[in-house]
Amino acid sequence: MQKYANPTRFMKIADAVLPWLTTATVILFVAGLYLTSVAPPDYEQGHTVKIMFIHVPSAWLAMMCYTIIAASSVGSLIWRHPLADVSAKTAVPIGVAFTFLALVTGSLWGKPMWGTYWVWDARLTSVLVLFFLYLGLMALWQAIEDPSRAGRSAAILAIVGFVNVPIIKFSVDWWSTLHQPASVVKMSGPAIHSSILIPLLVMAAAFTCLFFVLHLRAMQNEILRRRVMAMRLLQVERAANVEAGAPAE
């Protein structure tokens, strides 16, 4: 892994991978939206089942993104991997977006199906907690000026907060909730008809590819931002040396 810890090497690999990943994302979205448009109505929910094709991938991505942040935080704290806190930091705003989308589309699906936009049940509340955890991580990164100190504090919060991810996943099994239980990822196999399952899986793949495109680009941006910061420091250092009469490095 240390071989890939080199930011310059990472930039080159990301540049090579991104065009392919972007193309895959576009193709998957075109296919996913077409399959979504022709998917039959659910026997109970009617056409509102179409909200599932964007709600479920958003919710999966919200949890996957937090898992990546927690894994990156472990890498940052234990191995001091130079890209780990770049990965953790840049995944946070993307995770906020997907969690927000999961909450909003869930509410918009809940109103016609449950008769309410919101209930304080275990699944919804634990996802709201995840949203606040993301906001807390964003606030920490903004509040502490020194990036390495900010990274360490954010890593600790991310690892502690990871306990919420299995709670979200199993909340529908552990507690009685209004939210339906797992119907795709379950031991006995998916409980959804293939006419609805296939568009859902294609949309999930499209969302996942989009996440990786956004994350890789955001990581590249963060590496460039840190280079700009370092070069500005060098510029100031040089100017100070010239003023003091010392030879510039």
């Binding site: 310059t8 179409k50 700009v228 370092a230 510029q235």
Partner: protein, 71 residues
């Protein structure tokens, strides 16, 4: 409406919000990338070079100025 039944408003609103938020993320990340590349080019035009570049090849000392991480 559009054969989507009585709850078409909820379906449209969901897709519109997702499209808006994802498009916003894409634009923001692309804009941030452009800004950072422009700032880097401006600094290089002013003669500020990274230590790794001044000391030879980037592979020997990959990112000597990669601050913010405990390398």
């Amino acid at each position: 409406m559009f054969g989507l039944g009585p709850h078409y408003g909820f379906i449209f609103a969901s897709y519109a919000i997702v499209a808006f938020v994802l498009a916003g993320m894409i634009v923001w990340i692309a804009w941030d990338g452009r800004t950072q590349r422009r700032l880097l080019a401006e600094l290089e035009a002013q003669g500020v070079t990274r230590r790794s570049k001044r000391h030879g090849s980037a592979s020997a000392d990959p990112d000597a100025v990669f601050s913010g991480s405990d390398k």
